[in-house]
Symmetry: C2
Subunit: 155 residues, 2 copies
């Protein structure tokens, strides 16, 4: 479901990408993992890791998240509200956006993925090297107190 790297593997991945495996990078990554499904902005990541790492600076969190996204260790998430959000889940998945609660809810659906992959192969996109796609379902939670879930229709 997720793609959590332990400290050792994370260190390797950073070095492979030509980055130093600093303490700050480790804890930013771990905080982002802990916030899985929340698609946080830098500030939220910072608030989570500050108690245990009082000397880390917000600027470093910003830089670290950008750097991680550049080397594809994490993903940037498109945001209706205009902020820069991040996601430690790098597996193929889509998002459901609720315009009431401003929540971004993950959903993974292999069939949907296969469908879109097949479609994109059936098209020629000239002068463009396609690296992936982003799908967001928009709408509103009917009952904001309860969860959204998705399943095959029984129809």
């Amino acid at each position: 479901m997720q793609h959590p790297l332990n400290r050792h593997t994370l260190r390797e991945r950073l070095l492979e990408s030509g980055l130093k495996a600093t303490h700050q990078r480790i804890v930013v990554y771990e905080a982002l993992m802990e916030l899985h499904g929340r698609h946080p902005m830098a500030e939220e990541v910072y608030q989570l890791l500050k108690p245990a790492n009082p000397t880390i600076s917000l600027g470093t969190v910003y830089k670290t998240l950008d750097t991680f996204a550049e080397v594809r260790l994490i993903h940037k998430v498109l945001s209706e509200e205009g902020g820069k959000r991040f996601d430690a889940n790098t597996t193929a998945h889509s998002h459901i956006y609720c315009s009431n609660t401003k929540e971004i809810i993950d959903f993974e659906d292999g069939e949907l993925d296969a469908l879109l992959q097949a479609f994109l192969h059936s098209r020629n996109i000239r002068n463009f090297e396609l690296t992936g796609y982003t799908l967001q379902l928009n709408g509103k939670k009917v009952d904001p107190e309860n969860h959204v879930s998705i399943s095959k229709s029984t129809k």
Copy 2:
């Protein structure tokens, strides 16, 4: 292809939505139409209409674009770069995003639309009222000097 409203129809649409048809709203709408395909932010819209409307304020442009999006006269566009962008084209269409040039290119594809519609009907999304979806294809222009185009495969 687009959905341009003339002044008369725009006035009607605004009144229907309980909004006053002010001069500022008219010119913001027309500037956004003129910027079709550019998915501009408030500042860009402001720069375009300022020469002909020197007294309009940037704050009004911000408010107007938000108001328009609320009543669904225009669309908010998800942005990789974090700003709030808008689109006067409210027909079903997707976007191609080039990470080199930061361009957002429109593309309309009836088959893709039908495919996704059908898929979403085949799923039950519990506790969620689906109002639409947003699809973005990500990648890079091969030759930044030239255009991207999409067509059926000849394979």
